[in-house]
């Protein structure tokens, strides 16, 4: 059975339809990419899945449990973790303490939480920053801390919202490798949205394309990028026509 089932999810803000009848699944052993042009409704869909927004209609089933209508913190406790697009560095806490907030979800013991935090940080290669303050770290390292914090809560599924944003190409390569290890060695299913298409294509087993809140395509990365609907959504009608005239399509 699928780990995450999104069934006919619709989200309206007043007259604006942000997501319309979106359905898809994520399996335990999968990495799924969610792409689409700006304003396609990717982040809204994440917020709906994570319980941050109430749905207008439809339902979400996670690990066999209907999580529609649960609060975001309740969803998190079931093992659905997420990272945020805009990550705010904490001024008050040291790096390891920040990660411990994640591991405190599974234990009330400070020693236990610290142990898990250090193990995850070691796995992500940032254990040497444990004693530093968050504000002293560069952006790429802060993103790894955010990832570590989410992983420290021992999730089954991790929603990654634009983790590649603001990183340079070599940092992106490092992140891709890291996420492959998170999936391969820790067995965490990943659902990611990304502007950096290269990253989604390299990581995902399957890609879902949203445009104006609707799902317009789904399939293997290599197939999806050639789909005329997807090309049109990203590049416009002109490009599709020109492709046809040149006989590429």
């Amino acid at each position: 059975m699928a780990l995450l089932q999104v069934n006919n999810v619709t989200k309206r803000f007043g007259g604006l339809v942000a997501n319309h009848e979106v359905s898809f699944q994520v399996d335990q052993d999968e990495v799924v990419g969610l792409i689409g042009p700006n304003g396609a409704g990717k982040t809204t869909l994440f917020n709906c899945i994570a319980g941050f927004y109430p749905l207008t209609s439809g339902n979400v089933v996670f690990d066999g449990e209907n999580i529609t209508g649960l609060s975001d913190f309740q969803v998190a406790r079931l093992g659905l973790a997420r990272t945020f697009q805009i990550f705010q560095a904490s001024g008050d806490l040291k790096v390891v303490e920040n990660v411990m907030v994640g591991s405190f979800m599974r234990t009330s013991s400070r020693g236990g939480a610290r142990e898990v935090a250090l193990e995850v940080m070691d796995f992500l290669g940032i254990v040497d920053t444990a004693g530093e303050m968050m504000t002293e770290l560069p952006v790429a390292a802060q993103k790894r801390v955010a990832l570590a914090t989410a992983l420290a809560s021992d999730p089954k599924l991790l929603l990654l919202d634009e983790v590649g944003a603001g990183l340079n190409p070599s940092e992106i390569d490092g992140l891709i490798e890291l996420l492959q290890r998170v999936h391969g060695e820790r067995g965490v299913a990943l659902l990611l949205t990304e502007h950096v298409l290269e990253m989604v294509m390299k990581l995902s087993h399957r890609v879902i394309v949203l445009e104006s809140g609707r799902k317009i395509a789904e399939g293997e990365p290599a197939t999806v990028v050639k789909d005329p609907e997807v090309v049109r959504a990203y590049l416009g009608d002109h490009y599709v026509k020109r492709q046809k005239e040149n006989g590429d399509a």
Partner: protein, 333 residues
Amino acid sequence: MEAVKNAFDFGDMPRSELGLAAAALAFLLWFPAMPHSSFGMATMIQFLMFSLYGMGWNLIGGYGGQVDLGKAQYVGIGAYTTAVMMIRWDVPFWFSMPVGMALAVGWSFIIGYPLFRLKGHYFAIATIATSLVLKDLFEVWDFVGGARGLEIPMKGDMPNWLYLQFREDYYYYYILLGMFLIGLIYMNGFRHSRLGYQLRAIKDNEHVARSLGIDVHWSKIKAYAVATAYVAMVGSFHACYNFNIEPEDTMSLDLSVLIAMMAMLGGAGSMWGPIIGAAILVPMKNYLGSWLGGQAGFAGMDLAMYGLIIMVIAAAQPRGVYGIVEAVRARRR
């Protein structure tokens, strides 16, 4: 017992701080043996009381990041519970104090539930309102003496440990110092507890905190209850120390503001902040305030000065005196 271990674990604090704390503790222990005036002793007792009030305030105002201007209502509940139980039913302090704390915590749950749906200024205003409403109710409630308040009668010979009635102030001083040390050690444990970490995560960013499984609303209510216990405990003590209490001196807005201001001046969100704040402001209030009001003939001038202090903190260093210490230390590294 990990909780006990955490409470006594000061390992994450800089050596210099622990050295200063040890010196301060030695001073506090020896103070009654040193030559001092009775006004000096009263000032030290007030310093300890306000340190404890500030520690309580700091849980929500500092670690939780929500400014609370209604702490006086819990001082009142603690003080009145002890006074009423002592006067009407001869209940000793050591029994009435926990009862006062429990009643105050109960009240904190009742008002905390709706209050923590509010944010920022609205929360601050609502805490003022609940505190003032309670004060007004006590002023017209005959059972607790109305606006004239209550006076605790002498209960036999002094020193009386059961009812906390002593001729010499150093008895009160040492009892309060004991509470201060217990409060400090408990606070150190709280800082290291799951709720302590969670509160700081909430202060940083509530969305991120929720995504990590933290029930933000309930966590704030729990921390508020702990904060209330601190304040009510000192309130109970205050009733015995003063012998008489009235709504005006236990539940006034002045008291709430003073508590908040001391913690903010010292450094909201840090362990030592409320103590530093009380160490600066209590002597200033007592010595400078009485000099300005008396000999210099500027009654009320001290209040204007508090206002000035609040503005300077808000503009220059929101993390207070302790924030300045931290900034200097960061620059040296």
